[in-house]
Amino acid sequence: MSTLEVSNLNDGTTTVATTYVTNGSLKSWIKPAADLSSISDSFNVSSLDDDGSGDGGVHITNDMSSANYVILGLTQDGGTTTFTRQCDITDGTQAAGTYDFEVYGLSSSQNRTNTDSQAFLATVGDLA
């Protein structure tokens, strides 16, 4: 594997430090199966926890430097207009090498209910 050692990148008009690119890139991402039974694709992930319906956890191979990083999460809407689906991070679970998430639906007639639905997750921040 060859290595380019450069401090700056220049496109002819603008110069940015290479750290501008590395600091801003995604550090891990995962697309689990909707029912959390497998992983469709990922990067920098070692495993997925299936903790129950709509209740999962992600383990990172190269830890983040601390728990102060950002998790980006989305879920598919299921093609309906009568309820909403959301994905959130479970309180108190975000650590440098792992985080838990929940996927749930709610509507005007139904309280929040965890459900198996496609989630998309990624982390941004500093690596250990």
Binding site: S37, T61, S66
Partner: protein
């Protein structure tokens, strides 16, 4: 240091290695939350490819030592010299020690079986009662 950073090795490996879907899953229960259903650990296919290839992942001992490192302090595992190729069975044992709390795989002294490595076919595909799953004793 000639082996580079773990994240860089993972990025390079993803361009070169085909993902490997493991034929195993790890079923476990958390003794601190006995009312919760059994959990299923799913090995990542890109991670498994790296484990089987060798010279990418760090020794498991580095993760164990890093558990005690405070947030924001330098950690050992991203910079450690990588280990050689593992068998799939060895990789699963590595993953248990990395991603499951020691209270499950090391410290539990009770009578229940709370951790099992099983072929993926043994995990029920019918998830109707997913939130009531327990490990059969």
């Amino acid at each position: 240091m000639t082996h580079g950073h773990l994240w860089d090795r993972l990025a390079e490996a993803k361009t070169r290695l085909d993902p490997v879907q493991s034929k195993y899953r790890v079923l476990f229960e958390d003794p601190s939350t006995p009312d919760e259903p059994a959990k299923v650990l799913v090995p990542d296919p890109n991670w498994m490819a790296a484990a089987l290839e060798g010279d990418i992942l760090p020794p498991i001992e580095t993760y164990q030592r890093d558990r005690g490192v405070p947030d924001g302090q330098p950690k050992e595992h991203p910079y450690a010299e990588p280990i050689g190729a593992m068998t799939e069975e060895e990789a699963i044992e590595y993953l248990v020690q990395k991603d499951i709390d020691p209270s499950v795989w090391r410290d539990y002294k009770g009578n229940r079986t709370i951790l099992k490595i099983v072929p993926v076919e043994m995990i029920p595909s019918d998830r109707s009662f997913r939130n009531a799953w327990r490990i059969m004793q």
